[in-house]
Assembly symmetry: C2
Homo-oligomer: 208 residues x 2
């Protein structure tokens, strides 16, 4: 096997991979994770059923790729919302952006948390990286609110705040747990940010 052959093969495989991810992304966006079926996917991609398994080890791997793209879009949404003003405003803007993203792309967003790998399967490093980048978006506002804290403490705090916002959004959009009217959910998020920001300012005062 010479170089040209290897490249051609890798190229074809890469093209198929991308096409499958594109289609799967669209399917998950419109019908949710449960709507993703190997046979439909192959039909939509115009390839054989077995071809999917030449591009990916299994559907879980494909789903992780789709989820990585969702994470990237979520990152972009948070970045777009970031306002370089007062920290509480920035935090509120990003929380609103998170809720807005979850509402607009609910099936894709939900897929991030619905999907589970088979027991014992390790999380691929490239996926762990993608989700870790999410939390770091809160670092700048937190640094402004708590100039005294070191980076490690800030990172932990970023995770805590992100998780709290996620919880309000997740349960708020979860009709089986707590169907929350949209207006009330907006209000809940505002209240949460207000309470947390007030708490952070007291922390800050306590440190000085």
């Amino acid at each position: 096997m010479n170089e040209k052959n290897a490249d051609a093969g890798a190229d074809r495989r890469t093209q198929l991979r991308d096409r499958l991810i594109d289609i799967a992304q669209e399917t998950v966006a419109t019908q949710g994770l449960a709507g993703l079926k190997a046979r439909d996917l192959a039909a939509a991609a115009g390839c054989a059923l077995g071809a999917i398994y030449t591009a990916f080890h299994d559907l879980d791997e494909l789903i992780l790729r789709v989820n990585a793209r969702t994470l990237a879009r979520l990152e972009a949404a948070l970045d777009a919302a970031f306002v370089d003003a007062e920290a509480e405003l920035a935090l509120e803007a990003m929380a609103r952006a998170y809720l807005s993203f979850a509402r607009k792309d609910e099936p894709s967003w939900r897929a991030l948390f619905e999907h589970r790998l088979p027991p014992g399967a390790p999380v691929p490093a490239w996926y762990a990286d993608a989700r870790n980048r999410l939390f770091s978006r809160l670092d700048a506002p937190l640094a402004q609110l708590l100039p005294g804290r070191d980076a490690t403490a800030r990172a932990a705090l970023a995770r805590t705040l992100f998780s709290a916002v996620h919880g309000v959004v997740a349960l708020g959009l979860e009709e089986k747990i707590a169907e929350t009217p949209p207006k009330l959910l907006d209000e809940q998020l505002s209240v949460l940010i207000r309470l947390l920001a007030a708490g952070l300012m007291m922390e800050s005062a306590r440190l000085i």
Copy 2:
């Protein structure tokens, strides 16, 4: 059909229902929702495969029954943790109890949020009642912290706080999203409660 027959039939059916729920509960507790299989369930209950569908319309209905029991145990755990002392202490105790329950009964707890009904299927009223009771546990501490608020506002706030705690616990235990070391997760929860309680006290001051 006379009364005795009808009663006997209903009785047998009820017995089978309870037995199936018992076994499903045990299966979910040890192997998670994904471990619940109709054939294994029938084998463990010593009944025919089809008998399951004489007791329940489908497995979703059975899962809702299992989840309702989990909700009841969670309620009991929160009640046991409730301390009738200072509000912040009560809130922290209940948050810890939530985390502790999720850790101890992780597969069952996870099943509460993993399970989705088929699209368009309404949430049964008895299930909605069971989950609504959860939030109300926070009402007493909140009434202490914010004596000025009416019951509706308190209920909304209870949902917000519960959701925030849930978010920290859910993402903290979710290895695919953010594997958090146990000690750090304990710490995150403490910080969250501290921040929220501080925020609530400022709200309270602002109202007076």
